[in-house]
């Protein structure tokens, strides 16, 4: 049994799914495992286990750097029979993007939700982008289909989450509206930025692009307060990880 800390890395967007040729975020999560040849399992459930996506995963996580597998919940006749044992034996579980609503539905039907909590508690690093980021939080903003909606995630992290958080985007506007309507405070990340949690504390924000940022959002005096978080660009050689201190207030605090 591992005694490693519980770790989740939630990408606002990026990694092999979105940043072909930029392995910075994927390298970062592999590095967190501390293993020489980490065992990495890909969960492409949010895409309906799309073949092309699985192929791209194996290309990005090639055999010389890790021991890669995937679980296809639509083709259980293939792959590991004992899902729990397989997932608990990993160093890193990587969740792909797609429909978070479908993802959570399929996971619950196969008992994956409980297994992932167990894996997290056992020190398996959990990560993912987009739907694979939203799923770890108590609440999330999904903009996958139509107008952005509020939904409940697995709740490993007691915050809300919003991904692909771009200036002037619909998700941002909706997230603010949901917060004012009582959604708990939380974190947002732009494409290329990733929120790294140790336990349930944000330990740092890292990025595969120099400008990408993460944000902390809360409601104070019935107004949304959005703070940009100091971010470490992973492309800087020898960069010293910045502590996740507020860098700037994006929304003026109520007078």
């Amino acid at each position: 049994m591992k005694t490693a800390p519980r770790q989740i890395v939630a990408f606002g967007g990026g990694g092999f799914s979105m940043e072909s040729g930029n392995p910075l975020l994927d390298d970062y999560v592999l590095g967190l495992t501390g293993a020489e040849r980490p065992r990495v399992c890909f969960l492409p459930s949010a895409s309906g286990d799309a073949d092309h996506y699985i192929v791209r995963f194996y290309r990005a996580f090639s055999a010389h750097r890790c021991e890669a597998t995937h679980i296809s919940l639509f083709r259980r006749e293939q792959g590991p029979e004992d899902l729990r044992r397989h997932l608990l034996a990993q160093d890193l579980i990587y969740v792909g993007g797609g429909s978070v609503v479908s993802l959570l539905g399929v996971w619950r039907a196969h008992g994956i939700d409980a297994i992932l909590r167990e894996a997290w508690e056992a020190g398996v690093v959990l990560c993912g982008l987009s739907a694979g980021s939203l799923c770890w939080f108590a609440e999330a903003v999904t903009g996958f289909h139509g107008a952005p909606k509020r939904l409940e995630g697995l709740g490993l992290l007691p915050f809300s989450n919003c991904v692909h958080y771009e200036r002037g985007g619909k998700r941002r506007e909706s997230y603010h509206r949901f917060l004012l309507a009582g959604m708990r405070g939380g974190y947002a990340a732009e494409d290329g930025a990733a929120l790294h949690f140790t336990g349930t504390e944000l330990s740092r924000v890292v990025a595969s692009r120099p400008q990408a940022r993460g944000y902390r959002l809360d409601v104070a005096a019935r107004r949304v307060v959005e703070m940009r978080i100091a971010t470490t660009f992973l492309g800087d050689r020898g960069a010293i990880p910045a502590p996740p201190v507020p860098e700037a207030l994006s929304t003026p605090v109520a007078a």
Binding site: G48, F74, S102, A109
Partner: protein, 279 residues
């Protein structure tokens, strides 16, 4: 609330129709063409000359293979085919409820029954399908897409054959690929003996058509493919009986290419006659 019905609304008293198929594919082989023809006929009966036929490929995870084969089968036929891919809505947003209720036939593809129902539940699809059924939109499907309409079925969604709950729009249970997958049939017989509600077994290329109240009509697109009634004996409950049902044979229409060849041949024949040639 607006009436979202499409072509040929059945109204509240519409005949409820479900076609459950034990297993087939959308290839150009004769039994597959026969199934396709039946689907087109049922859709046309409701929608007229150019019915709307929509595939829900959810159980497969919306694979492009399944969707592609469906379009290949119906693309050249007199109908308007479409697909609702719940995993691809991000790239192709659509008003789900309006789209489904505008169809004449909704076809559910095969795959994982457990995932199908979980994803439908997450997107609230079951209530839309139930409403479509009550409005007379034909519901059809094969394998997982056939068992989903029943109270229960035998799924291999977790690898091994085991019992799973369905939507319960049709009472009783269904086991697909009946004589094609002996382990599935064995699991079904055991489950019914253990108290699962009885129902039907369907071989690949056998089907059951419910039209309104009463018993379904059995159809078969391949000689030897059968539909079975599977029940626990009333006197000795631990024993299960399997009785084959008389089935109507569905002949395969000529393939599209052949239909064109025949038309061409007739044209040549007419020309020859006009020209006064012999033969």
């Amino acid at each position: 609330m607006g009436w979202a019905g499409g072509s040929g609304d059945g109204g509240p008293a519409a005949v409820r129709r479900i076609l459950a198929l034990g297993g087939h594919d959308f290839t150009s082989r004769p039994p597959d063409r026969a199934v396709c023809e039946l689907l087109l006929r049922l859709a046309t009966e409701r929608g007229g000359g150019r019915p709307r036929i929509c595939i829900l490929p959810t159980a497969s995870g919306d694979t492009s293979e399944q969707i592609g084969r469906f379009y290949a089968a119906f693309g050249e036929r007199p109908c308007e085919p479409s697909d609702v891919s719940l995993f691809r809505l991000g790239r192709r947003p659509m008003a789900l409820r309006d789209h489904l209720l505008a169809q004449d036939l909704i076809y559910v593809g095969g795959g994982s029954l457990v995932n199908l129902l979980a994803v439908w539940d997450a997107h609230d699809i079951a209530s839309m399908l139930s409403l479509a059924w009550r409005r007379g939109i034909v519901l059809a499907g094969q394998s997982a897409g056939a068992m989903c309409w029943f109270e229960a079925g035998i799924t291999k969604s977790s690898g091994k054959a085991r019992e799973a709950t369905g939507l319960g729009m049709l009472s009783g249970s269904l086991c697909v690929h009946y004589n094609n997958e002996p382990d599935r049939r064995a699991a079904y017989l055991e489950a019914v003996a253990d108290g699962m509600p009885g129902g039907y077994g369907l071989d690949d290329y056998a089907g059951l058509l419910w039209e309104g109240e009463g018993s379904p009509a059995a159809v078969t697109a391949r000689r030897g493919a059968r539909a079975y009634r599977v029940c626990r004996r009333e006197d000795r409950e631990e024993e299960v009986t399997e009785s084959p049902l008389p089935a109507r044979f569905l002949p395969a229409p000529a393939p599209a290419a052949l239909r064109e060849d025949i038309a061409e041949f007739r044209r040549i024949k007419t020309m020859r006659k006009r020209a006064g040639w012999l033969g």
